[in-house]
């Protein structure tokens, strides 16, 4: 199905199942431990062996020699794979660094060997006997020192630099100016389930049970890495214990399970040990962002400039921190630039809302600073500079843009009017209390997505697509879509995901999964409805599907009859025309946060949070809310604690476990509220939905930062905002 004209009324609009707060249909399997995660396919490939990865002890250089003698002789060892004996391997097109290093080493904890043994414990013990002799080389690890040598590099969805009018002149002429530099640190996805895979070979055919967000991408890239045809690779990934972008690409677990299984002649399981999860995998890169804003005295932005620097390994990509600045606020003269430095740190890549997440951390503090300079309320300043068209290409309007309504609704619900504009005025016992606001913004992406729908003689509708559910609720919204379309209750729908034998879907990432994958299911259901109508002798345009019946006029036939004794199946793909070119499709929101800053210790604790989101049709308010509160929590982490600390001498992230890399715990997140504006976006898909799960993080950290400023009067521009950055600037105690 080609989607190239705005959606009109369709069966989804009935909202009998879609739009309802349906519980997750995979919930019982998860709470009873019967959902099989990658490491848990005990029956699928009996008698597996276990692989344990050895990570490089240096960041850059070469392996002179590896001595495997002691490890090979250790109890239970079946095989040890290194670059030397692995056979020819290519680099996957989605990887920047090789998944198996050697002799050249590209980053710390790059895998240099996998030890395969009868038991996990034996593999782990033997792995520690692998002796690697390294020749270490000088590397570049400090982004701040490399800004001059950084090169322009294009970002996802746009060029490196954009320019409209004459920014320099307009900024110089502006009566009110801000010129500030912000930094965001490297961040880890830190999901609960580590990267994990089990591999089994049947002749030249490889099956990988893995934990991966993008099935088809990974089939292709695993095949490329192993230099085998992609028809020989099957990927199975129905349950994923969190990904956040860390599982978009093949990682060392998958490749080394495959190589280990080949070498051992047995199925092999490999999970990344937690200490490898920070340097062996990808991470969100650190940024340095300079923002300049010029405005007239009445608060109209006349000039806006955003420059961003980030780093990655050679051949890598930059963070797209300037993306939102191209679209979010009006202003005639504007510029953005993106520069990429070469670093020898582990590979940088996507993490939840790549680009906007970091960009909004800086931009939305800048707006708060401007509001203060102008003496205008920060909610009003944002409203004043709203634009209904793409400010770089004014001929393009937004498909939907209700930022103002998000801000106004949020301000009303949060009690914004009670706020003291002057910082440091509100005390509650030992706490200095303040509130902050930030806009939320994240683009909406359209990518084709296919599904197969089967109807059987008992009226069960089975959906098959290689879509993944990374804890987001894909199973549930896909079931809701099929139930709505076929007119059956949700318990008559079976959803099967995450298998490369199924039609290729959008996958999970970039908050594109929900809208696109359900649109693919919609397309397949339209086909199935036609087939059913034809089979039962209805005119498909007139047939209504409801209550397990197909009806037209006085005639009503059970849906199941269309399957006869066998089944009726249909498959289709949703493909998009140029609506996304004609209209800018983005999602909007507003974050409001109240924090307390301890008067003595400067400890910062969030007290309450509110997000208002306008993101098209909300397919399931319960799963959508879960996504948003999770994203808000992650935003608090980014604001207050998350930082991969670089040892700039040796080039690695030092705090590489969950004790050292802190993410919020329950006690950090006391009260969260989410409001969805009632919206449909007919430009996005027949579902009229958009992404939501990444919108929820964009702007949160800045709202926290702004609340800290409002509470304490201390403006911190370097994340994370830890107490040591405030302490010296707080009033005396006692």
């Amino acid at each position: 199905m080609k989607f190239d004209t705005p959606a009109t009324t369709n069966p989804i609009d009935q909202l009998r199942v879609i739009g309802q707060p349906v519980n997750r249909i995979d919930g019982p399997r998860k709470t009873t431990g019967t959902a099989t995660y990658a490491y848990e396919w005990h029956d699928a490939a009996p008698n597996p062996a276990y692989g344990y990865i050895v990570g490089s002890a240096i960041a850059k250089g070469r392996i002179n020699a590896i001595d495997l003698a002691a490890a090979k002789a250790a109890p239970g060892v079946l095989a040890i794979v290194t670059a030397e004996n692995a056979g020819k391997l290519e680099k996957g097109s989605l990887n920047t660094a090789k998944l198996l290093g050697g002799p050249d080493i590209q980053h710390y904890h790059q895998a240099v060997a996998v030890v395969v043994a009868e038991t996990f414990e034996q593999a782990r013990a033997a792995a520690q006997l692998v002796r690697v002799d390294y020749a270490s080389a000088q590397g570049a690890f400090d982004l701040a020192k490399l800004t001059d040598s950084a090169k322009p590099e294009k970002i996802t969805g746009g060029p490196a630099d954009t320019k409209v009018g004459d920014f320099a002149a307009a900024f110089a002429a502006a009566p009110v100016q801000l010129d500030a530099t912000y930094t965001t640190p490297d961040e880890a996805h830190a999901m609960m389930e580590p990267h994990a895979s089990m591999a089994a070979w049947d002749g030249d055919k490889l099956t990988l049970w893995t934990s991966n967000q993008m099935i088809a991408w990974n089939v292709a890239d695993i095949a490329k890495t192993l230099a085998i045809p992609k028809e020989k690779v099957r990927l199975i990934s129905p349950y994923i214990g969190g990904g956040f972008g860390g599982k978009l690409f093949p990682r060392a677990d998958a490749l080394l399970a495959a190589l280990g299984a080949r070498a051992a002649g047995r199925p092999v399981k490999v999970a990344l040990q937690r200490p490898l999860m920070f340097n062996n995998t990808t991470h969100r890169p650190a940024t340095i962002q300079r923002i300049r804003i010029g405005a007239s005295k009445d608060g109209k932005i006349t000039a806006i400039g955003h420059e961003s620097w980030s780093g990655d390994l050679p051949g890598g990509q930059p963070d797209g921190a300037v993306s939102q600045t191209r679209l979010l606020y009006a202003g005639a003269d504007r510029m953005t630039t993106t520069r990429l430095a070469v670093l020898d740190l582990p590979e940088a890549n996507a993490m939840r809302a790549p680009g906007e997440a970091t960009g909004m951390m800086a931009l939305e503090i800048a707006i708060d600073e401007m509001a203060e300079k102008l003496g205008i309320d920060p909610v009003e300043l944002r409203i004043l500079n709203d634009t209904q068209v793409d400010p770089e290409k004014p001929e393009r309007s937004f498909s939907q843009r209700r930022l103002i309504e998000c801000l106004r609704t949020g301000a009303e619900r949060f009690g914004w009017s009670k706020r003291s504009a002057a910082p440091g005025r509100v005390r509650d016992g030992r706490w200095l209390v303040g509130t902050g606001v930030a806009a939320a913004f994240r683009n909406n992406m359209l990518t084709k997505s296919a599904a197969r729908v089967r109807l059987d003689s008992s009226g069960i509708v089975t959906v098959e697509t290689d879509m993944t559910d990374i804890g987001t609720g894909s199973y549930t919204i896909i079931a809701q879509t099929a139930a709505e379309m076929m007119g059956v209750p949700i318990d008559k729908v079976v959803v099967r995901l995450g298998d490369s034998n199924f039609p290729v879907s959008a996958g999970s990432g970039g908050q594109w999964g929900g809208n696109n994958s359900t649109a693919g299911v919609y397309a397949a259901c339209i086909k199935l409805r036609e087939a059913v109508a034809q089979k039962l002798g209805f005119n498909s345009a007139e047939a209504a599907f409801a209550d397990g019946q197909v009806k037209s006029g006085n005639r009503s036939v059970p849906l199941a009859e269309a399957a006869g004794d066998g089944e009726l199946a249909a498959e289709d793909v949703i493909e998009y025309g140029d609506l996304a070119k004609k209209y800018q499709q983005s999602t909007f929101g507003a974050h409001f946060v109240e924090v307390g800053v301890d008067t003595a210790t400067a400890e910062i604790r969030v007290r309450r949070m509110l997000a208002v989101c306008a993101a098209g049709r909300i397919l399931n308010p319960k799963t959508a809310r879960s996504q948003v509160i999770g994203a808000m929590t992650m935003g608090v982490g980014a604001a207050l604690m998350e930082e991969l600390v670089i040892d700039k001498r040796h080039g690695f992230f030092v705090n590489h476990d969950l004790a050292g890399y802190e993410v919020p715990v329950h006690a950090d997140i006391p009260h969260q509220d989410v409001i969805f504006l009632d919206e449909t976006d007919p430009m996005s898909s027949p579902m009229k939905a958009k992404g939501i799960a990444e919108l929820g993080i964009c702007g949160v950290a800045a709202a926290v930062a702004n609340a800290i400023y409002n509470a304490s009067g201390v403006r911190v521009r370097d994340y994370p905002i830890t107490l040591d950055k405030l302490l010296d600037r707080l009033p005396e105690v006692g």
């Binding site: 002890a57 109890p75 414990e121 782990r124 013990a125 520690q128 200490p275 030992r430 301890d598 008067t599 003595a600 210790t601 400067a602 400890e603 604790r605 207050l640 604690m641 600390v645 040892d647 001498r649 040796h650 030092v654 705090n655 590489h656 476990d657 004790a659 050292g660 802190e662 919020p664 715990v665 329950h666 006690a667 950090d668 994370p720 830890t722 107490l723 040591d724 302490l727 010296d728 707080l730 105690v733 006692g734």
Partner: protein
């Protein structure tokens, strides 16, 4: 993890003797620290002596009017004991500020005292660390040292002791009771129990090889306001950047120990005389010889400000 042999001891003397018999043996109690370190091969005992069956799991009154806390009393039990809560509130609060409910259910009095540092380089076996591998160097010096010691450190090691419980015990003048392999028992005042790193950061306590902790005794209750204030970046489940254990009497006199600043709970009795004069005077003496790194110099300000807040709370 290296292979090891295992036995279960039935009496304290038997446990100590077993330790003497087997070179590179270690006791295992809750295992919440030791097992993690064994998996990473930071600890590589050849033999484990399980002390969990020893009858050292009671909290009993002493003839001096104090309490004897068995070495195997679980942290949860200790924190919630009615007598501890009433007479040694500081200890209860310090325990509850540490780790998580699940960990405290396993963790023991002795194991808590002997838990090892959380220096990230200690945990990364690719990196030099004098504590893990004597003579290899200290990666934290000149590296990431935000969590590290500001006082009492050495050129060899700047690690901190991570225990909250020990800081409270230090302020309470607790005494560690032990039995040695030859059956001799002794009492070690807590202030002399943990060592500063000096040239041998791998030696963390004054325990002899094979010496088993049997109990910790608390002297007669001293009353006063007892406050434990632990400062950290997140609200729970994190080690202290700085912690303050204070006992403040009605007349303003009292005791103070700091956590998160040194290789052991940090207490300087001479500084306590200045308590009535306020936090500035006390910390000036307590931390007079501080030599922080650039990354952790904030701990000096933080300690002073936290103590000031604690003293205000005590007066209130």
């Amino acid at each position: 993890m290296k292979s090891f042999t295992y036995e279960r001891a039935n009496s304290p003397a038997e446990a100590a003797a077993a330790a003497a018999r087997t070179p590179r043996a270690k006791f295992i109690a809750g295992g919440t620290n030791l097992l993690d370190l064994m998996k990473l091969e930071i600890e590589t005992p050849s033999h484990l002596i399980d002390v969990n069956r020893l009858a050292l799991d009671k909290i009993e009154p002493t003839s001096e009017g104090g309490l004897r806390l068995g070495a195997l009393v679980r942290n949860t039990e200790l924190a919630t004991d009615e007598r501890v809560r009433r007479d040694y509130g500081l200890l209860s609060r310090a325990l509850l500020a540490g780790a998580s409910g699940q960990l405290r259910n396993k963790a023991t009095t002795a194991g808590n005292l002997l838990q090892r540092t959380r220096c990230p380089y200690f945990y990364d076996t690719n990196q030099p660390c004098n504590k893990r591998q004597p003579g290899s160097g200290c990666s934290a010096i000149g590296g990431f040292s935000r969590q590290h010691a500001v006082i009492g450190a050495s050129e060899a090691c700047i690690a901190t002791h991570p225990s909250d419980m020990a800081v409270a015990m230090c302020a309470l003048d607790a005494v560690v009771e032990t039995v040695r392999p030859d059956g001799a028992t002794r009492n070690i005042p807590i202030a002399e129990f943990h060592r500063l790193p000096g040239d041998t950061p791998e030696i963390e306590t004054t325990l002899a090889s094979g010496e088993l902790i049997t109990a910790v005794t608390l002297p007669k209750p001293v009353g006063g306001k007892q406050i434990y204030r632990k400062v950290r970046d997140r609200a729970s489940y994190a080690f202290a950047l700085v912690s303050v254990a204070a006992i403040v009497q009605r007349d303003g006199s009292g005791r103070v120990a700091l956590g998160g600043v040194a290789h052991k709970p940090w207490r300087v009795e001479a500084a306590e005389a200045d308590l009535p004069r306020g936090a500035k005077a006390v910390t000036a003496k307590l931390l007079a010889d501080a030599r922080p790194t650039r990354e952790n110099a904030f701990k000096l300000t933080l300690a002073e400000r936290t103590l000031a807040a604690v003293l205000t709370e005590a007066r209130g």
